[in-house]
């Protein structure tokens, strides 16, 4: 067997790959498949599931509910949560883009030795605990928190600001959490940009603004799109930020899912929600992969 491994490169390759692939396959792919299965099962009487009993109740309850008298009514609660999640994710992505692009451009225009430091500074928040970072915003945003107290002391406000536990606070937290995800791909694109092309644009009569929108932005489009996806998708499935900063009135999909495995104990519904979220995410990824397959940031479609 060792001899065979020595000789055949392909056998060797797949042997080396097997552990990692099997691990991920077994502990990720299989569970996801299982989750899809659970989503079409009947809810158990005391929570959990009735294995083997099929029902599309979970998906049905996205939109409808059964009244006490047995009639069917439209339930918009969950729709609202979905819409709110989409809306917040969209706004967050836009804000991150508006803040992130100029920052990435600034970084790309710096000399080499400063750039590495800046990249490092952008990366650090990515590696620190999301929970802790969002907690910091609680300190800042709550009534009698830092911002409220400062505004009060400066005489700007006399009433509590009541920002915490609103969608607005969630938005602030989401933008904060995902800013590095927007900046880094855009920076990667801009770093590979041949700025001699911008010189050529200057030479041909384009001022800085025109050069920006006619040359720099189109050529960094892959990075911009990557950044938008890297922000939008995790935002959609966010749990920590809306849980800490949004309160019960600003639930997002993630909170709704978690509730099904906590107090509500409606596992099929939770599984259905999670599977739907996954489907949306994978769809977005596939669209991106098909449109931009194999392109490095900085390249443009031929």
């Amino acid at each position: 067997m060792i001899q065979a491994l020595r000789k055949d490169a392909r056998l060797r390759r797949w042997t080396l790959l097997a552990p990692a692939m099997l691990f991920i396959g077994f502990f990720m792919l299989a569970p996801i498949g299982l989750m899809a299965y659970v989503s079409v099962l009947e809810r158990g009487e005391f929570g959990g599931v009735e294995w083997g009993v099929f029902s599309i109740d979970a998906y049905w309850s996205f939109f409808f509910e059964r009244e006490l008298d047995g009639s069917v009514a439209v339930n918009t609660d969950y729709l609202q949560i979905f819409l709110r999640s989409f809306w917040l994710s969209l706004v967050t992505t836009l804000l991150a883009l508006l803040a992130g692009f100029p920052t990435a451009l600034y970084m790309a225009l710096q000399p080499e030795r400063y750039r590495n430091v800046l990249v490092f500074l952008v990366t650090i928040p990515f590696w620190t605990n999301l929970l802790v970072r969002n907690y910091a915003w609680i300190l800042l945003l709550r009534n009698n928190g830092l911002i409220d107290a400062s505004l009060n002391k400066l005489g700007i406000t006399s009433e509590p600001i009541n920002v915490l536990y609103t969608p607005f606070a969630t938005g602030i937290g989401l933008t904060y959490s995902f800013l590095p995800f927007m900046v880094l791909p855009i920076y990667a694109s801009l770093e590979k940009l041949d700025f001699r092309l911008v010189e050529a644009a200057f030479d041909l009569g384009a001022d800085r603004l025109r050069a920006l929108f006619r040359i720099i932005v189109p050529l960094s489009a892959p990075g911009i799109i990557a950044g938008c996806i890297l922000v939008f998708v995790p935002c959609l499935g966010a749990y920590v930020t809306p849980e800490l900063l949004g309160g019960s009135k600003s639930m997002m999909i993630g909170n709704l899912i978690q509730a099904q495995f906590g107090a509500s104990r409606n596992w099929p519904f939770g599984a259905a929600l999670a599977f739907t979220l996954l489907a949306i995410v994978l769809l977005a990824m596939m669209v991106y992969a098909m449109r931009f397959r194999g392109q490095a940031p900085g390249e443009t479609r031929q």
């Binding site: 041949d194 001699r196 092309l197 010189e199 050529a200 644009a201 200057f202 030479d203 041909l204 009569g205 384009a206 001022d207 025109r210 040359i215 189109p218 050529l219 390249e299 443009t300 031929q302």
Partner: protein
């Protein structure tokens, strides 16, 4: 060339780039380029020719000195406000735009009417012979075609001055020679002032009306190709352009043929233009290999022995050791048959025509 037809002037332009240590890219450069001229900046890499070009284009600001375009100081005017266009060494074609859109770019920036733009683009495509390729992307073109698009894109704006930064260096030899003729033709046809940067001295000699030879940030000599070649003033210029023999000599004063010199190792010759040397001055003389005459050894002329004979089809180069110890190369065209007349070891006499010898600044 009178004052009103001077296109570009540089007055003592200096450019220092920050760094440890700072880079003196250009030192005290002054030149006046006439309208409609094909002017070349020639020199090895690092000599400052590209820096000067970029200063004229506006991509950098001079540390000292002034740049003037048709009598008006350029000052801090950004590139997009200068009626100057550049053909970049890397072509810098916009990869996300078609060939036509590339060419049209400058006109679109100046908000020209749509009809005018499409007309001009057609005209330019015809001018560089790329008529059917308007809708292609730059990456779909060959190197030579890309180069022509870069040219068309710049010319489309009818600039007052066209800057060309080593535009032919990426092309293979045959294509380069074709493009040299093409560029020369274009320049004569359009009458635009061309400022051309190259390190290839052959290119400079064949295409230019005038050449500025540069080295280490300084302009060494400005002149027509003939002047540069036949009357180099500087040892570097004499060496960089074509081949030269260098001889140390001491001035003997005026004589019947001009100014007399004695070579360091012995032997005498006369120079037509002594450049104001007086007896006793030690100078370096430069003489081109093809201007030296070989003859039978004669006591009154410089003598030597043939060390090496290199046959090259069109001509033969003789490496001769002069009796005083200096080596010279003598190039003789192979006119009569293909066999060189002399062999290694032969004694030979050297004659230097007085007007072929240059006295160099030390």
């Amino acid at each position: 060339m009178n004052a009103s037809s001077v296109a570009v002037e540089a007055h003592s332009v200096t450019k220092i780039f920050p760094g440890k240590p700072p880079v003196h890219a250009l030192e005290d450069a002054s030149v006046a380029i006439g309208a409609g001229e094909f002017f070349t900046l020639l020199g090895p890499s690092g000599c400052g020719k590209t820096t000067l070009l970029r200063l004229i284009a506006g991509f950098e600001q001079p540390s000292a000195g002034e740049l003037i375009l048709y009598g008006k100081t350029l000052g801090h005017l950004p590139p997009f406000r200068r009626p100057i266009n550049t053909v970049f060494q890397s072509y810098a074609l916009f990869p996300h735009l078609s060939v036509s859109r590339n060419i049209a770019f400058g006109l679109e920036m100046r908000k020209a009417p749509r009809a005018e733009i499409s007309g001009r683009v057609e005209e330019m495509l015809a001018l560089v012979q790329l008529e059917k390729l308007g809708d292609r992307r730059p990456s779909q073109l060959s190197g030579g075609q890309q180069q022509r698009v870069a040219l068309a894109r710049a010319l489309a704006n009818h600039p007052k001055v066209l800057l060309l930064d080593e535009p032919l260096s990426a092309l293979d030899l045959k294509l380069r020679k074709e493009m040299q003729l093409e560029l020369k033709r274009l320049q004569l046809e359009t009458g635009i002032t061309f400022i051309f940067v190259t390190h290839d001295q052959e290119e400079a000699l064949t295409m230019s009306d005038r050449i500025a030879v540069m080295r280490d940030g300084r302009i060494l000599q400005i002149g027509t190709p003939t002047q540069i070649y036949e009357r180099p003033e500087d040892r570097f210029v004499a060496d960089f352009i074509g081949d030269s023999n260098f001889l140390d000599a001491e001035c003997r004063g005026v004589n019947g043929d001009g100014v007399g010199f004695v070579l360091a190792g012995g032997g005498e010759l006369s120079v037509a233009d002594g450049h104001g040397c007086t007896a006793g001055d030690r100078v370096t003389l430069a003489v081109r290999p093809e201007r030296i005459d070989l003859d039978i050894p004669d006591a009154s002329r410089v003598t030597g022995k043939v060390e090496n004979v290199v046959y090259f089809g069109t001509d033969t180069t003789y490496h001769v050791m002069l009796s005083g110890g200096t080596r010279v190369q003598v190039r003789v065209q192979n006119r009569t048959g293909s066999r060189p007349k002399l062999n290694p070891g032969d004694a030979v006499g050297i004659a230097f025509p007085p007007d072929a010898v240059q006295v160099l600044r030390r």
